[in-house]
Amino acid sequence: MRRSISAAEAAAMIPDGARLMIAGFVAVGSPERIIDALVARGARDLTVIANDTARPGLGIGKLVEAGCVARAIVSHIGTNPVTQKKMLAGELEVELVPQGTLAERVRAGGAGLGGVLTPTGLGTLAAEGKQVIEVEGRPYLLETPLRADFALLHAQEADHEFNLTYRLTATNFNPLMAMAAECVIAEAVETVPVGVIPPDAVRTPGLLVDHLLERAH
């Protein structure tokens, strides 16, 4: 059986300037407790790779409001006017990536692939500065892999060896990001004994998870 850590311990591991992948889709499937601890410790200069920046007061939105984030690599910021304001004011650098491309870039980072060839983004601003590769007569954008120092995950169940499951649309980027970071920190709704999650239901093998947050009080 492995030992869990507190949210504050997790936040203390993550230095200012770190590059984080944070799972979630408009905060659904985001690790709110780790995020709260990062805000509480006053983290600064973070690069956040995520689907979106959620809403003010919610998920990654809390990090943005608290001024923890210097750079965001995301597909969408339309749900968070604070992000838009900070971006236009030059306080926050935003790199917009098509959502499917973002998913594949994270997957490529975790799977050891050199990149992704996709038709998405050809002929748009998303193609700027990128290589176009022809395969069997058709052009594709070469999109490079993404990796991070930390992946912050929200699971439904974690067993005592940190095998994880996710629930419904809270799954989103969680299993992909679990593969693509040097250090993986997860929080889970439930903690269960080993064996409660059958092998076919494990979505992230516990060996990929470095730290699990202790049960919420």
Binding site: F25, H76, P98, T120, L168, T169, F173
Partner: protein, 224 residues
């Protein structure tokens, strides 16, 4: 019937039985209310579910079950959930029969712009670029004009969402099919004369001999 409902009703007639369909946020979401009777359509939400249903009654929401806008949804029996890579493998791999998306502009080449207004509004493309590039059919559902300006233009002034030509544009005035030759006027809204559509459209239109009124209720639904 207000303009938004009319557009949604007409778009719903493009749905086909036993197919996978993605509806964008806003007006396109309304399409789900007008599925012709007898059709079994599975709606996909790009955040990771196929076969979702309407918002559940208050008190029955699942915080782990939302649409791409973060709103609560339900799941139909037989629904499937998956991660973001699988969700876009479905979209980009040609498994999605149709997407209905809102638009800021469509141009004479049939290209769509719907993800940013430089210097003003930069929500980001979200899944729109993948949807427009990957769905088998791309339906744009939008008002014909915004602030008195035609949204159907000779050439996009806003950044394109994809270089692909969309399949169909449905507005409160007309149904327009982009073709290699240009924008073909297929249908007109009830009571709207062809000349009014031409006048309200900044891009040149190809006008066939006959331009019927758009149907708003398919035979399947009428039989219900």
């Amino acid at each position: 019937m207000d303009a938004r409902e009319m557009i949604a009703r007409r778009a719903a007639l493009e749905l086909r039985d036993r197919t996978l369909v993605n509806l964008g946020i806003g007006l396109p979401t309304l399409v789900a209310r007008f599925v012709p009777h007898g059709l079994r359509v599975a709606f996909q939400s790009e955040n990771g579910i196929l076969g979702f249903g309407a918002r559940p009654p208050e008190g029955m929401e699942d915080p782990n079950l939302t649409d791409a806008g973060g709103g609560f949804i339900s799941a139909e029996p037989g629904a499937a959930s998956f991660d973001s890579a699988m969700s876009f493998a479905l979209i980009r791999g040609g498994h999605l029969d149709m997407t209905v998306l809102g638009g800021l502009q469509v141009d004479a080449a049939g290209r769509l712009a719907n993800w940013m207004v430089p210097g003003q509004l930069v929500p980001g493309m979200g899944g729109a670029m993948d949807l427009v590039t990957g769905a088998r059919r791309v339906i744009v559902a939008m008002q014909h004009a915004a602030r008195g300006e035609s949204k159907i233009v000779p050439r996009l002034s806003l950044p394109p969402t994809s270089e692909r030509r969309v399949s169909l544009v449905i507005t409160d005035l007309a149904v327009i099919q982009p073709t290699p030759e240009g924008l073909l006027l297929r249908e007109r809204a009830p009571g709207i004369p062809v000349m009014a559509i031409i006048a309200a459209t900044a891009a040149p239109l190809i006008i066939p001999g006959e331009v019927p009124e758009m149907p708003l209720d398919g035979p399947a639904r009428a039989a219900a």
